[in-house]
Symmetry: C2
Subunit: 341 residues, 2 copies
Amino acid sequence: MITIKEIAARLGMSTTTVSNVIHGKTREVSAETIERVQKFLEEVEYVPNINARNLAQGQSKIIGVVLKSLDFRLWHSSNILNDPFVSEMIGGIESAVREAGYYMMLYISDDIAEIIQRISIWNVDGLILFCMMDDDGNRVAAKYHKPMVCIDTYSSEKKDDFVNVGLDDEKSTCEAVNYLIDNGHRKIGFVTDNRVGVDRARFWGYRKALAEAGIEYSDRDFFLLEPAEEAHGRNIEKLCRRARDYTALFCCSDIYAAIMMSALKERGLRVPEDISIIGFDDNLFSRVCTPRLTTVHQDADRKGRVAVQTLIGMITGKAPATKKIRLETRLVIRDSVRKIE
Amino acid sequence: MITIKEIAARLGMSTTTVSNVIHGKTREVSAETIERVQKFLEEVEYVPNINARNLAQGQSKIIGVVLKSLDFRLWHSSNILNDPFVSEMIGGIESAVREAGYYMMLYISDDIAEIIQRISIWNVDGLILFCMMDDDGNRVAAKYHKPMVCIDTYSSEKKDDFVNVGLDDEKSTCEAVNYLIDNGHRKIGFVTDNRVGVDRARFWGYRKALAEAGIEYSDRDFFLLEPAEEAHGRNIEKLCRRARDYTALFCCSDIYAAIMMSALKERGLRVPEDISIIGFDDNLFSRVCTPRLTTVHQDADRKGRVAVQTLIGMITGKAPATKKIRLETRLVIRDSVRKIE
DNA sequence: TGCCGGGATGGAAGCGCTTACATGAATCTG
DNA sequence: CAGATTCATGTAAGCGCTTCCATCCCGGCA
């Protein structure tokens, strides 16, 4: 690896001059010198040592992306990336980070302390935090004074002071459940694997829709997919048995919808003839299951990109117009809901 | 951020001593000094500046993970992470990297030159390369003299000189197709979206199985999912029409299997009654589609972990026992293949 | 007593880069 | 034409850390 010093020596000039042309300070260097240096740089395929640069500049050009996995001890997998929603979002983040000339460092952990430790070491310029757990956003923000934007993070505290991009989960869900109600459904179950964050907001949307339609809610209407691996079989068996009392299920993600649909069909229930199902996310699952899933569409890729753009704005000194950035959703109607006459 | 210098000053000692205790050089420092320093470090929550450290040591502690996306201009998505196989593998890599005390930097790009550029900048200690394109492994290795291990990378050149972890794709596929043949199938199609790398190896396995059973192969048996977005509809329509002449399809991934299954069922064909389907990977898709998919199981998480372990071995000066590391597969029999009497 | 060895500590260079500031030449202004 | 201004380039300090080497002290040994 050739260094700036070496280049300067070979060209018979100072490192300052070389550095200046590298940084495009055209008014400090004569045109011919620029030309000469640039040609030489290409010739030797100069690559800067970014550690040295960062040390000198006190920055890092790294954006830390934190996935708190504990919250996502998913029913179907211990790997948070296996959720297509997450992987698509990461894809969006990665592209946006790259296009902005930054680098992305990915941290997956269930321990916020460990994460902060690892991030601090690299002195990242900013942070994207994806964790559903209440108040982790606040906790990290309090500890770590760098630009940060959260994705899909809710807070139960009054003074949540982090920038957050997400959806209006309550409203989206309310609309979806209203769609079921409009189609004549009255016995509607709510399927999730947790009681926090996004899913809780969706739960309240579900409750709101029921209430507005004068449908009473009972705890039995809450279908909890349990994460414990060994309980899968029994858990799903029990849920399917309970589902027979319902004409429709709202599922907090397409994965759950696909899992439930598959399990119900295996036990002889027909979708949507016997039971209607509605999902959330609109990822590939919703298109390859049979029947194709009616679901709430959101743009995960865009969610990631918006988070990055907002963050980089903050890094470069631009406060976001609003702290709660909300993306649009829309109900995509396919074949998994039937109309009850 | 407190620095070593500051700490040394506050403690009335030299930076050398502080550095020594940080690095656990116990024989260079007296027990009581160690004690004092450690206590102080904790007190002020010292975090090293890794840029400075790396600069001084000429290392980086970063493992670069490169996904070459062009090869994966997937039929169903432009985001390579959306393939559950990939996301699970990344999950494995991430865990292994973290557990080994390294950091992971993820690069997704379709341009090898750009990737090398970005990697060189960070002076990564080693590289994990995931790209199906022939010979990219060789090209990167020739250009970039750092430890590197490829995943699922094939080479058409004689002198492929990179370490590679993958499967015996040919054998795995051969076994799967033999299973179809044993079940009485003679008209067996091969479904993929490309003609390179892993899928080509699988193709030869498929051909081998046919040949051994005395079944003639014709180009018509090759079902190509075309990536071009606008052609999806027509493409899938045509494939489904052609599929009516077959009693079974071998698909190079569970995703393709799920997509084909869904499309076929939409057009009134029953799986497996009218047509049997077999997939590859054994990811979540295979379990939530109906009927549940018979598929070749591989352990993507392990693939990632093995790659990392091998790489770190190389970084620390341990050559791998073999350059071609092959993981096991096994056929998982579920419900998507029927026996023809 | 004088010398040696080793344990504990410190001094200082250097990793590759950026940047504030200095220098000197050329150009401009009234 | 003196002084001010601009342009082009160089000098050197410093970013925070590691590490080679020097120094000093003390006990052991002949």
